[in-house]
Symmetry: C2
Subunit: 459 residues, 2 copies
């Protein structure tokens, strides 16, 4: 009956095709796929409003879909209902070089955006690795390698158009650089993983493509030395655009996978954005600090193909580790601690891996205190999943005990609801549930995610 | 009866003294003072929770109070009730040089914090001018002269402890540099002007005191030239720490007030933070750009007392304009537009001032597109207030028509509720009201502010 109403309103945009439903049943995580009852391909904000009005009247779940690259089951329709596919809303609506901002539809992908912006000499820096949609990146509060300099989605989304559960269309902010007008709805929707509304337009802050992009690498005998060096680089305010750790295990995996001969030590990769003069100063400062912390084999380049080679270990780490496990899927890990606790957190994690006999190379956005353990497993091997889950639980508890968070950038999704309560306490999560209930009283928006099930009886 | 209960629980911390109530009846705006029925001087989070529990049970309004420096009646108890004074909660609880953050109580004042932090070689950059409390600055979403480089309170508050209307104590976030765990409660409370809860602890991001602080000034024949120069400086990513406009009228007022002989032209004041090398590069770039836009009389210095002299026009502008009006109070103005619209907005505003025969020097954080017209008036002169209010309405409408906001940094308070609806639409303000009602169903938290009156019948 819901499908009939959707068809009457939206025609061919509604699909119940098995292959299409299957495609919308899972993200890139190991979580169990679940089929939506239908997929709606929206092409405009009005389509989204129509879908939500009909589904709200029938209390039918709606889960927004972008590129399906989430890592915590964030876009999996665990209660069935409608998968609302926004990938056809992929227009870049406006670019302003003067204001350094743009307005786009949510289905625009990261690489597509930067290719388009390059003609203006501009770029959007958030780089989570995957070629995700910008709507999805905003919804999960994505960040990545460049966050240490430019910030995460939280910092760079200026305004959103959002459709709420009842089909109302909200604009969260004007596009002035700053405002103190009313509650910050922009930040409320960023990172809410589609549980409060569906994003149909984004205004983003942009940056000029730097005159010079310089890359550098250094090796270390221990992760602690590398991380202690990073702490001092950050503390002294050296202007790094990326500062990434690839540990020895990951380098070994890359050498095996890519047939390279990188020195098999803990590796730091750095990038600097600026003018020729400013990057030269920044590189010299960073090098001096890192060498004092035992960094060796300093190499640098500003040539693009050379840069790619220098960063090869970082680019290939994910694939190299996935190749370690035939038929494997990524078992997502993502913790973030205050940078002063990073050495301890990484060292204890390495010991845990070794004690548990788990192969788990570590890569991370260490300038932010954020790192991942690259675990893979066969989703059919329940025992292996259980072992990794136990390790993962210990990892998250370790992060929380060190004043960290259970997720720096992947979001809560299905997997981390209980950790959210451990992290912030039931009073904070109750406040989130009260907000969820206020904006989505029928609980149709991506139900079961982030704050779990919400009903009037919670209050 | 409420007061009896408060006294029984909090003893001498509760005052009904007339002078104390009078002191809590008004902020620095021209809005009509209104007396609270009592003032509670909280000394800990528990005092705040106790106060809120008692007041919530009796549906008695509670308005948080810091330093009383707000400019839109934000802290005025317009419905009476309790003024909850947090100024005695002025402890700096923790400073981490490694993590570049600190945790403080809400009554800590800006200057006190920076004096304390200087022993660590650190500082907190947000500078709204007034020596406000950090709790108040977070509540109003303050920003100021350094926001162009370091961001506003929105960007620099990492976590809050907040007591909600029912007396529950919430921690909004861990102190990791980034997180995507759950809804962003931190940003929901920042800028909510005490209408959703009372902040009792703040964790703030800090920065190292730069090795070199260099200041510079330049004069321009027209505001348009000055602003067009600023746009290009920002667009090319020159690393300015402050870039302020003081228009010719303000310079004239300063010369009269401070007996100085500054060149009576439109003035840009700049500050650069970094190393000796990096600031030299930044200054040369900025100078070259601004001279192409007609900038003249470039002066620079790194000496602190010289810097103060160079910036005298900016420091004295407020006092000079207030002196223009005996017994005057500031008539607060604050708009912010996308920087591409700034020249037009400032030019049209100057024409409006001239047409309306209003004395209104303009100063502004032009790197962010934010400016103020320094209006003063005798609060007893109702005709004068009406004339200024009409001008002010035109100014806000102009900002909104240019995709700007009705307030870049002063907040909504009492005065701008209707503009908030014009700015974001009734759907967005209804969503804010739904959130307000969810977290404060009895409407006791700073009632009548930001979103106006809220009751179940709104929904």
């Amino acid at each position: 009956m819901v499908i009939d109403e959707l068809r009457a309103a939206l025609g061919e945009k509604v699909s119940v095709n098995a292959t299409i439903r299957e495609h919308h049943s899972k993200d890139e995580s190991f979580h169990t796929p679940t089929l939506p009852d239908a997929v709606v391909f929206a092409t405009c904000t009005q389509d989204v409003a129509t879908t939500l009005k009909i589904c709200n009247a029938h209390q039918t779940p709606v889960v927004a879909w972008g590129a399906g690259t989430s890592l915590e089951g964030n876009s999996t329709p665990i209660r069935g209902g409608v998968s609302l596919d926004l990938s056809q809303m992929d227009k870049i609506l406006r670019v302003s070089g003067e204001d350094l901002d743009c307005t786009i539809q949510p289905g625009v992908r990261r690489k597509q955006l930067n290719e388009y912006l390059s003609r203006y000499g501009l770029f959007f820096p958030v780089d989570p690795g995957a070629d995700a949609t910008l709507g999805g990146m905003a919804s999960t509060g994505a960040s990545g390698t460049t966050t240490v300099k430019y910030g995460a989605m939280k910092q760079l989304v200026m305004s959103l158009t959002v459709v709420t559960a009842n089909g109302e269309v909200i604009t969260t902010s004007r596009r002035a650089r700053k405002t103190s007008a009313g509650y910050d709805l922009t930040h409320l929707f960023v990172g809410s993983e589609g549980t409060l509304g569906v994003i149909t337009e984004l205004t983003l802050r942009l940056f000029g493509i730097p005159e010079v992009i310089a890359s550098a690498t250094m090796q270390f005998e221990t992760v602690r030395e590398a991380v202690d060096g990073v702490i001092e680089v950050i503390q002294l305010g050296v202007d790094v655009a990326r500062i990434e750790l690839v540990d020895r295990d990951a380098v070994v995996a890359v050498n095996r996978y890519s047939n390279t001969e990188l020195p098999e030590k803990d590796l730091l990769l750095l990038e600097f954005h600026g003018s020729a003069e400013s990057t030269a100063i920044d590189i010299a400062q960073a090098r001096e600090i890192l060498e004092r912390h035992g960094g060796q084999g300093f190499k640098q380049t500003t040539d693009e193909s050379e840069r790619r080679k220098l960063w090869q270990a970082r680019h290939d780490a994910g694939l190299a580790c996935r190749a370690h496990q035939p038929n494997g899927r990524i078992f997502s890990t993502d913790v973030c601690v205050p940078i002063s606790k990073l050495s301890q957190c990484v060292e204890e994690t390495k010991k845990d891996l070794s004690d548990s006999k788990i192969f788990g190379p570590i890569v991370g956005h260490v300038g932010d205190g954020n790192f991942h353990v690259l675990l893979t497993c066969d989703p059919a091997d329940h025992q292996a999943i259980e072992r990794l889950e136990e390790f993962h639980t210990r990892l998250v508890k370790r992060s929380l005990s060190l004043e960290g968070t259970c997720t720096g950038e992947h979001g809560i999704g299905i997997g981390k609801i209980e950790y959210l309560v451990s992290e912030l306490g039931s009073e904070a999560v109750d406040a989130m549930r009260a907000i969820k209930f206020a904006l989505d009283p029928n609980g149709i928006m991506n139900p079961g995610k982030v704050v779990g099930e919400v009903s009037l009886s919670n209050f």
